[in-house]
Symmetry: C2
Subunit: 529 residues, 2 copies
């Protein structure tokens, strides 16, 4: 099982596997499965006894990890103080809507100009059904959820390098029906021709044939795949005589499908974190951040940039600067829970041991870019009957155009114009905001004729250029997981670390929350000892 395991859960290998698709290194499946760590394992905060009364914890960062810790530790009686460099809480759990401002490092300031009610979740945007930790808080805090359509057999796949099927707007329903139909036919004929007599008993062969007829909807007589209703119709059925019953449209040819590589864009089942049911908070992902903030906001010091950490055997002292006034202050507490991304923590002046400092530097952070495009008209719904889901493409730097799963049938909508990563993200992020929008439009109009005309305004982010984040998420490799990760998990003296980076759910909010649960339990255990 070991090799299947590694293949399944390291992002690097996953990307490698995805890069094989289409033969030209595009990352459709990787895009679809970012934050490769999969399912959460804890379904509620740790059940702890004893009181933290009289003990204090300084928490660095008011992202989901920091606020989770503040919320739970406060309930246990601890005095908590959260230092947050930004003027708002949530960390990467952000939503860009009218008035939201972002100035990337070395970049011009963007001020989101979407209409009221329109927004883009430019950080995390999905909550899978098995992320019970995130769902614990949406339930507890009564954050209303709605379904995020993460799987839509009607959203196009569009390959520039798709061989005989290049530059066509293909529907996944067609591809899945036809690939699996042709494959079923091939195997059914092998059974019929007794090519599998050595491998399978007569009973199993009969059952297999039965299954294949169903799976591929093969003709009863000649076992041929000739199309099926699931792929769509040449003429749709409707009322009256004409149109009468619909005829399934003609299947794509087996050779063309194989030569295009398009069958490999999809797979037998979605990878675990991508399966239905997928959720998003009604009104934007930051509703989760706001729900936390409502409960722990009084413990958060905003505009407080951490400058130094000094830790002893009995307490921890953190110096911070008020970014509005420039004034420096310190806070001393019994414990420190540091949830700063390692990309940021490595720039803080600390008296950690060299081993610990090196461990902090050992992990890379993912360059990631996203752009939200407000469209005057929901042409994908109106013209193409695509309601949510992802248009997958090998257009370099685009990877996916994702359609909004909210405000169905309304006039306007904000779609995700690209979701890029690594070298692609670095290249695109070098463009100005206006150039990024132009880049997205030039690609999108290849797929949707109405794209450019409908365009209203854009808001983009390059997470590797965002101060206090400097990347989308921690990217462990086998080496750093083995050597640096355990050291960081352990912490040093009275400083413990938490965040998505200290989980196998990197890039997911569940990773941040579960890591916080784990580390706050350790603080409490030590405080009670």
């Amino acid at each position: 099982m070991k090799s299947a395991l590694n293949r399944s859960v390291t992002r690097r290998d996953f990307l490698y596997r995805a890069a094989a698709v289409g033969g030209t290194g595009f990352l459709l499946n990787a895009m679809n499965a970012w934050g490769m760590g999969i399912a959460s394992t804890m379904s509620g905060p740790p059940v702890l006894s004893g009181s933290g009364k009289g003990k204090s914890v300084v928490i660095l960062g008011a992202g989901l990890a920091g606020m989770t810790a503040a919320y739970e530790l406060n309930k246990l009686g601890y005095k908590v103080q959260v230092l947050e460099a930004r003027g708002f809480a949530g960390g990467r759990c952000q939503t860009a809507r009218k008035g939201f401002e972002l100035t990337e490092l070395g970049g011009e300031t963007q001020r989101c100009a979407f209409d009221a009610g329109q927004y883009i979740n430019h950080g995390p945007w999905r909550i899978p059904l098995h992320h019970q930790s995130t769902l614990h808080y949406t339930r507890t805090f009564e954050v209303p959820l709605e379904v995020m359509v993460n799987d839509n057999d009607h959203a196009f796949v569009y390959l520039e390098n798709g061989g005989p099927l290049a530059k066509q707007r293909l529907r996944p329903a067609q591809i899945k029906a036809d690939m699996r139909g042709h494959v079923a036919e091939l195997l059914a004929k092998s059974v019929q021709d007794h090519l599998l007599d050595r491998q399978l008993t007569d009973d199993d062969q009969r059952a297999l044939l039965d299954y294949l007829k169903h799976e591929g909807q093969l003709e009863a007589g000649d076992l041929r795949y000739k199309g099926r209703t699931g792929r769509g119709f040449a003429v749709n059925p409707g009322a009256g005589m004409n149109p009468g019953p619909g005829t399934p449209s003609d299947p794509l040819g087996f050779h063309d499908l194989l030569a295009s590589g398009v069958g490999k864009v999809y797979s037998a089942v979605q990878d675990y974190p991508m399966q239905n049911t997928m959720f998003q908070p009604v009104g934007g992902m930051d509703q989760i951040a706001k729900a936390f903030e409502k409960r722990v906001g009084r413990h958060i010091r905003y505009h407080a940039e951490v400058r130094t950490i000094r830790h002893g055997d009995n307490n921890v002292t953190v110096a911070w600067k008020d970014t509005q006034t420039g004034k420096e202050s310190t806070v001393t507490a019994d414990y420190c829970l540091c949830t700063l991304p390692l990309s940021t923590l490595r720039m803080v002046d600390t008296d950690f041991s060299d081993g610990f400092k090196n461990a902090i530097k050992a992990v890379a952070y993912a360059p990631v870019g996203k752009i939200g495009l407000q469209m005057k008209r929901r042409f994908w719904e109106e013209d193409d009957h695509i309601y949510g889901g992802h248009v997958l493409t090998d257009i370099k730097g685009i990877n996916t155009i994702s359609l909004p799963s909210t405000s169905w049938q309304k006039k306007k909508g904000v779609l995700l114009g690209y979701y890029n990563y690594q070298t692609d993200a670095i290249a695109v992020s070098a463009l100005s905001p206006a150039e990024r929008a132009e880049f997205a439009l030039a690609a999108g109009e290849k797929i949707f004729p109405a794209y450019r005309d409908a365009f209203d305004s854009a808001f983009s982010v390059a997470w590797h250029r965002v101060q206090y984040n400097l990347g989308g998420w921690a990217e462990w490799n086998d080496d750093s997981r083995k050597n640096a990760y355990p050291l960081l998990l352990e912490g040093e003296k009275r400083v413990l670390l938490a965040g998505e980076h200290l989980s196998y759910l990197t890039g997911w909010q569940a990773g941040a929350i579960e890591s916080a649960w784990q580390q706050l339990a350790r603080i409490h255990e030590r405080a009670m000892a």
Copy 2:
């Protein structure tokens, strides 16, 4: 293509195909695809010129067909009068919530006792993305939609007669991953062993092997299927060191899968009407009826039971009885559009020709039963992480337990406890409401341990016993489609018929709407002539 066509679109054949699953005639797929007519073809009402001013149309029935006609004809200037036997509009487009009353023929009165905010759509419950006609009105009338989770790889399949996999709560994700994995392995080895050299070129074999490795996530070396993340984990990944990266759980054996027949519960792609994205109106399906009613209610005469239809060359006279006062009245109009189900129309005293009367009698109506069960606790979400979708089972008379796609994470919820059909529906409908609830509980607790304890109250319907409907939908067969259907579509003199029964979208609201569009256009054409 002819045979594929017939196989695809007649419900009888479809049921036959589904009945083969499991070898014991259960109808999982049929349940999943009721209302077999598939995709609508008209995306908006007919564009008509000229005015109907001074002309009158009496419309029988204020279901979606009748109200569509009333709305559009009224816009054209016609004087419309709608006769509706019930005290409310909508026809089968109903939602049972607190206080909703139903007295089936010969049955006791049920008064829905769900909590405020809880409901069941006991008539139509799904709007597929390609039913552009239904979606035309939800958009025009601004009826808010939400996603109805119609496809959930985490909702169980539970087979009493599932051979080696009987009486287990299987997740579709496991079944799909494993069946397709094993099949991919088998075919990959056939390629490797040169068994397919005659059928495929070298290039195609290479591409096929590549595809199969991806589709089945086969081991690179021995091409074996050993599980995959998509099937779930033995131990889920999470924060910290322990649990570390998850191990995919062990696959179900190929022989067991084949012998159980469970692979045939699912198929390469969902049939067309069942594909994502599926919608439901926020707050209940009857929001569509109410939106129509708001616009045409002033033209509706409620409690008006149609008694006789007399039609001449110049006008139509309909006699109706006020069911509250017993008073009989008549209305005469230039045209009559009759949207009564044929099951009901056949009992009305008319002076139609014998040929037309016989055609009206030629179609059967489907016995259909549903039960809504309010549960005190959403145990399917809390205990099993199933958010919406259908638990499919071969338990006789149950077929599906469908979980609600609304009020996520709230305390209570109403699930669909069975959805039965034909002889099963007839058998279950013979029970009293309390007995039906007991029947549903006895089945449900086999699958969900918390089922009976969580039960609060029930509301059931047997559509074949509901006055003015007498069945779920029209069930054409090849013979009646060929002989009776064209006659009915044509109408007689100044009486035209409309409804889901005059479409190839039987059982769907889109069928009713599109049929109304078609027939109102014919009325207008004749009025303008």
